[in-house]
Symmetry: C2
Subunit: 465 residues, 2 copies
C-alpha cells in the first residue's frame, strides 16, 4: 500500500484540530501549526472565557472523530431563549416543542483542549505552536512561518496544505493576493460591534439567573445576551452600533454613561454585573463580519476550510457547528475520491459551498430576529404557534430554527429555503387573520403547509426560468 500523504494544516483552532484528528485517524501524516501559544500552557480560566453554542451538526463532527461523549461533559443544555423584555417579566421561548431538541453552551478553550489532548495520543500528528503564517506557496503546499518565541523563520512543506486559520486567514489572503486565477471574495462588516462582560457565579458557585437558557435582552437596535458557563458564571455579550445612535460604542466613553445606559435598557442585568464599567473599558470591542470566497482550493494542493473559507456572524450559534460539519462533508468526499486531491477539493466545494453560503445568510437574518423580532407581538404569535405544532404534532412540523439546528440530515440550504417559506407563510396567515381560534391545530398546520408550498412553488416558477 502506498504511504498516505503528508497534510500540513495551518491553524489549530476548533476546525483545524478536529480536521487534524480525523485525518490522522484516516492514516495521514499530519503537521498541525498554530499561531497562538498552546492553550494548555497559558494562564486562563476556561470556564470564564468565550463560550459557544454546540448543536447537532457540531456533535456529528465530534462523533465522527470519537470525542462526542467527552465533549458533552463540558456542555450546559440551553432549552430556549429567556427573553428579558423592555417592560414586563422575563419569559422562556423554547427552541423547539420537542424535548430532545436543545442547544449547548460550551467553553471554546475547553473544547479545543479536549481536541488537542486527543490529538496528542496520535503518533502521526506533530503539533507546533507560536508559529505565525507569513507566506504560502499555493502551488507547492508549503508555507513560511515566523516563530514568535525565537523570532526565526521556518518553512514547512507537505503534499497538501489546508488552511483552517480562521476569519482572518493568511492562507485565504494568499489566494486573494495571488492574482493568477479569478478569486471571488467578500467581507461584510456589520455596523454593530460587540463587547464581552461577565455575570459571575454567586458565592456558592451557583448561577445568579436561570441556568438552562440563552438569555436575550432585545432592544431593537441593541441587544445583550448571556450564555452559562460550568463554573456558575455567564458570559455576557453586548451588541451595539459603533455610531449614529443615542447609545453607541463611539459615545459610551465614561463609566457614568455606560451605567446610565444599562440602568435604562438592562436594569435587571446591571444588578448581576458587578464590574460593568471596568470590564467595559478593559475588554476590546470586537467586529462582526461575514466572509465568503470562491474557489476554496487551487492547484489540487491548497484548500481553505472552516472560518477561513466562510466566516459568519454569531447569531445563529452555527459558526463552530458549520466548521465541524465541514470536516464531516470533507471526510465523506475523501472517502469517495481518496487519491485524487483535485477531485476531492472540487467536489467538496461543490457539495458544501451552497450550504455555508446559506448559514451565513441565516445568521444575518437571526441578528435582526434576536435584537428586534423577539420583542414583536407578531413574532411571538408565530413562535407560540410553532411551539404548539412541535409539541402536539412533533412529527409533522419543524420550524426554521429546528431545521437549521436540530436536523443535521437536512443541508443548511434546504433548511433556509423551507424555513424562510414557512416563516413567510405563518407571518402572512397571522397578519391576514386566517389562523383564527375557530380552527383546530391540525387545520392551522394544514393551512401553513398549503401556503408554504404555494410560496415555494411560486418561487420555483421564477427560478426555473
Amino acid at each position: 500500500m502506498k504511504q498516505k500523504e503528508h497534510i500540513l494544516i495551518v491553524g489549530a483552532g476548533l476546525c483545524g484540530s478536529l480536521l487534524a484528528l480525523r485525518m490522522a485517524q484516516r492514516g495521514y501524516t499530519v503537521t498541525l501549526i498554530e499561531k497562538r501559544p498552546d492553550l494548555r500552557k497559558v494562564t486562563q480560566d476556561a470556564g470564564r472565557s468565550i463560550n459557544l453554542a454546540l448543536s447537532d451538526r457540531g456533535l456529528k463532527g465530534l462523533r465522527l472523530a470519537g470525542v462526542e461523549k467527552e465533549a458533552l461533559q463540558l456542555c450546559i443544555p440551553m432549552n430556549g431563549r429567556m427573553i428579558h423584555p423592555e417592560n414586563g417579566e422575563p419569559f422562556l421561548s423554547p427552541y423547539s416543542g420537542r424535548k430532545d431538541e436543545y442547544i449547548n453552551s460550551i467553553s471554546r478553550p475547553g473544547l479545543n483542549i479536549l481536541l488537542l489532548n486527543t490529538i496528542d495520543q496520535m503518533a502521526n500528528v506533530t503539533t507546533h505552536f507560536n508559529l505565525g503564517c507569513e507566506e504560502v506557496d499555493l502551488e507547492h503546499a508549503s508555507a513560511t512561518f515566523k516563530n514568535y518565541e525565537t523570532g526565526n523563520t521556518q518553512t514547512f512543506s507537505g503534499d497538501i496544505l489546508i488552511g483552517t486559520d480562521g476569519a482572518g486567514s493568511a492562507v485565504r489572503k494568499s489566494m486573494f493576493d495571488h492574482k493568477k486565477f479569478l478569486f471571488s471574495f467578500s467581507q461584510q462588516w456589520l455596523t454593530h460591534g460587540y463587547k464581552e462582560l461577565e455575570i459571575p457565579a454567586d458565592e456558592n458557585g451557583g448561577f445568579k439567573t436561570y441556568k438552562n437558557a440563552l438569555h436575550i435582552w432585545p432592544r431593537g437596535e441593541d441587544m445583550l445576551i448571556a450564555l452559562p458557563n460550568l463554573d456558575g458564571s455567564f458570559t455576557v455579550t453586548l451588541f451595539l452600533p459603533y455610531a449614529n445612535s443615542d447609545y453607541c460604542f463611539n459615545n459610551l466613553t465614561t463609566a457614568e454613561k455606560v451605567e446610565e445606559y444599562f440602568r435604562k435598557e438592562f436594569p435587571d442585568a446591571l444588578e448581576l454585573i458587578p464590574n460593568l464599567a471596568e470590564e467595559y473599558f478593559n475588554n476590546p470591542t470586537g467586529a462582526l463580519g461575514t466572509v465568503k470566497c470562491t474557489p476554496w482550493h487551487c492547484y489540487g494542493k491548497t484548500l481553505v476550510m472552516g472560518d477561513a473559507a466562510h466566516a459568519i456572524v454569531p447569531f445563529y450559534g452555527q459558526g463552530m457547528n458549520a466548521s465541524f460539519e465541514d470536516v464531516v462533508v470533507f471526510d465523506e468526499i475523501l472517502e469517495k475520491y481518496e487519491g485524487n486531491w483535485e477531485k476531492v477539493f472540487f467536489e467538496y466545494e461543490k457539495a458544501r459551498k451552497i450550504d455555508t453560503d446559506a448559514i451565513a445568510d441565516l445568521a444575518l437574518d437571526n441578528f435582526h430576529e434576536m435584537k428586534e423580532h423577539t420583542a414583536s407581538a407578531l413574532f411571538q404569535q408565530k413562535r407560540k404557534l410553532e411551539i404548539a405544532f412541535e409539541t402536539q404534532l412533533p412529527n409533522a412540523y419543524f420550524s426554521k430554527y429546528s431545521l437549521v439546528t436540530f436536523n443535521e440530515a437536512i443541508p443548511y440550504s434546504e433548511a433556509m429555503k423551507r424555513g424562510r417559506a414557512q416563516d413567510k407563510a405563518i407571518l402572512n396567515l397571522l397578519d391576514d387573520g386566517k389562523l383564527n381560534d375557530g380552527l383546530s391545530l391540525e387545520e392551522k398546520l394544514a393551512l401553513v403547509k398549503e401556503e408554504t408550498n404555494n410560496i415555494m412553488h411560486d418561487d420555483a416558477v421564477v427560478k426555473k426560468m
Copy 2:
C-alpha cells in the same frame, strides 16, 4: 465669497470626465488625472472600438452638464433585441411597447472624447494623462502617481480627492488596505469570460444585418451579442464559460475548434465575421465581475464614484448609465449640503448605495435572462403580454426593463422591487393558466396588478418584522 475648493479627480474615463466637467461648471478648481494616454492622441478607430448602451439615466447626466445633444449625434437607436434562435428565423423582441422607449449604441471612446473636448473649454480644469496612481493619502486628499512617459513620481494634493478610476480602482484599493476603519468589500467573478469580435461594414459602408437592434444569439450557457457602430460595423461579444463545458475558453484552442463551434451554434453570425479565428486569438479574454463596497468615503476627504464604487456586469447595459446617474445624485446632494463635505459624502452614499446595489443584482439577473430565458417559451409569452400592455395601455404598465431603463425618476431599487414582483406575478399567472384568451387585455392587466400587489404585500409583512 470664499474660493471654492480644489478637487482632485483620479480617473478620466466616462464618469470622471463627466464629474470633472460638472464640478468645473459649479465653480470648483479641478485637477483630472488619467492613467492612460490621451484618447485623442493615440491611433484608434472610435467607431469600431467598444460600444455601450446609453439610455435615459445616462442621458440625464449628460443633460445636466449640457452635452446631451452632442452625445445623441453619436448614437444609433436600438429598439429591441433581435433574437437569433437555435432553430428558426431571427425575430425582434422590442424593449418596450412605447415608441419613444429605446436604447442607444454609442462608442465609448467617442463619448469620452466629447467629454474631454468640452472640459478643455473650461478654464478651471487641468487634465493630465499617463499618470498611474500608486498611493493615496486618504486623510489628506493627496495621491502619488507614476508618470509613464518620464518614469518619475509626482504627487498631487487637493482639498478633496474623488476616485473615478474604474473597476480596478487604486483609490478603493487604498481604502481596502488602510485597515483603520471597517471596509466591507466584495468582488464576485462570473465563471464566464468574454471575447470581442467584429462584423465589418459591407463594401458600401452599410450594415450587414439589421441595424437598429441589439442582436442576441442565446444558447443557454453561451451567448453571442452584437451592437451596431456608426461606421456600419457591429461589435460582437462572445460570452462563454472558462471551463467545464463542451465548448469553453479553456478548450477552444485552435482555429478549427473555434470555427466548428460557431458553425454549430451561430452559423448565421459566422457568415458575417470574416476574421473569426484571427480576432478570437488576437483579442484578450475579459473577465466579468461585480464589485461592491462600503463606505465609499473617509475622513470627509476622499470618495469613490462610478465603477470604482460599484462595478457591475454589462448585461443590463446600465454600467455607464449608473455612473452618470451617480454624478446627477452627487450634484443634487452637493446643492443641498455644499460646504460640508463629510455630510455631502455621507448623504450621497446613503441616497445612492441602495440603488447601485440594486442595478448590480439586476445586471446579474439579466445575464441569465439573455443567455437562457430569451429562448424560453414562457419568457416569450411574458414579453408578448408586456409589449401588448405597453402598446395598448401605455400609461398603465411598465415592465421591469422599462422601469430600469426608461424611467429615470424611479430609483433602481424601486424598479427592482416592483419589476421582480411583476415578473413573478406574470410568470406564475401564465404557468397556472390564469391569463386565458377569454380575458380582455384590461382584465389581464388587472389580474397582473392584483397578483403583483399581493406579492409585494406578502414580502413586506416579512420585511417589516
